[in-house]
Symmetry: C2
Subunit: 302 residues, 2 copies
Amino acid sequence: MKLTILGCHSATPSINANPTAQVLEIKNNMFLIDCGEGTQVELRRNKIKFSRIKHIFISHLHGDHYFGLVGLVNTFSLLTRETELHIYAPKGLKEVILLQMKLSASWTQYPLIFHELSSDASELIYEDDKVEVYTIPLKHRVYTNGFLFKEKENERKIDINLVTEANIDKAYFRKLKQGFDVENEDGVLINNKKVTKDPKPAKSYAYCSDTIYNEDIIPIIKDSTVLYHESTFLDKNEALCIPTKHSTAKQAATIAKKANVETLILGHYSTRYNGYNDFKTEAKTVFNNVLLSKDGKTFNFD
Amino acid sequence: MKLTILGCHSATPSINANPTAQVLEIKNNMFLIDCGEGTQVELRRNKIKFSRIKHIFISHLHGDHYFGLVGLVNTFSLLTRETELHIYAPKGLKEVILLQMKLSASWTQYPLIFHELSSDASELIYEDDKVEVYTIPLKHRVYTNGFLFKEKENERKIDINLVTEANIDKAYFRKLKQGFDVENEDGVLINNKKVTKDPKPAKSYAYCSDTIYNEDIIPIIKDSTVLYHESTFLDKNEALCIPTKHSTAKQAATIAKKANVETLILGHYSTRYNGYNDFKTEAKTVFNNVLLSKDGKTFNFD
């Protein structure tokens, strides 16, 4: 599992501060999460192949999270993409994109499929053999979802020497990988754990931006490997969180602790601050394993 | 008159190639012309004060000419702008912007005034004491206008020694500046040219992008000081101009010659070419005074 931060700043793009966008590589998927203005250039800068992006998740319809999407959709067309593109976003975005296509008299020649979100409860919105994606309902000034990306449980690993010794036929290997006990050639029931090893634990990534401090999300993100939680402000500016519906670094860390995640990544910094070390210092008073996002930074969780 | 090129490339933005946007400084106005994705960052990079931009002219609704507008409008709000902003653009853009504002539940607190264009004839769309702006109907795949920015004729310059010598009362200075002959204190009619000097000639800037080769624009742009004419392709790719409705460098130069402009600036280069000197070489076979636009370049015409 690998996460590349294309942009981690709030509000407006500037020369050295990109608005929100990130790419999560998980089990051969390349998921684009949010798409602020300039994202297509940041994808190029980070050498991420456009053709590998097949699913885009948009948290909410504030510009710093989606103004780069129409340009990316358009560029895919100009590059004669043929692969399907799925967009998971709040209801309304489809209308925005289609209106602009209509006005430019140019439609994508590749299938563009919108999955419009409007539920206030967490729901499964994507699933393949190895990954599931759920929404995380957040509380912000407009309808907003975070996203939980979960690897499915990996299969148990067969120890080839032990299964041969135990005289188990190949036809049962599938069952063994799934954790079942099986009979051997002599009709003896073999305990699964005697011939298989525990799989690598399944990883998960919870993306929560933008949101006010909200403990309702804890059951959904519980025990995640990595939590990205917005920290727009420092504790000294906590009062700003109420009208803007954002969080402080300390609040992000509190959620991380209560949800028992392994690692917390902070981001969506307000551009009012010079440097972001104070965010880390503040969060670490509550939760130990804190990382700072930075435009162009890649985190590897393998 | 000063022109800053923020972007001069066609189609999609990339690391070193910005889509179309430029700023024309003319008689104290700061006009933004087109606004591709990333324009707000380029404005910052070129140290152009956001508050000085009061009028934005959008040629047509292809993304590489306007995808940066909604972000700029939004940023002006976040910066608590109060000054009016006027947008001159094809019908449809207002709907695009307002829809996105509605979805983000955030309206500008400054007056945002749309001037929707739909006429196929050249029309006066802006006028103040010193400048006029006309549309230049272009032929492209969608409804498109170029823009002609014209300084009004400057006033004649009074030679203070000569008017004193000629015994002309101050009350007549206004008339003298306007070019009239006036009576002096002794009742003698004084020939204007004897006591005033010719003003600096009025300048004009014709912006023509995107368009197929079209001689219909010649009467409108005739004798302009500067013509920016798109040159998406080189002559060797002229065949591409028909389906895409673009021009070659040679065609741009032919328009410049026939319209008797002083200077031609080329731009809107297709990103298929490496380097742009061939554009200049090609145009110079037809018209002598050719400049190449480049992202971040400023041309001074004073």
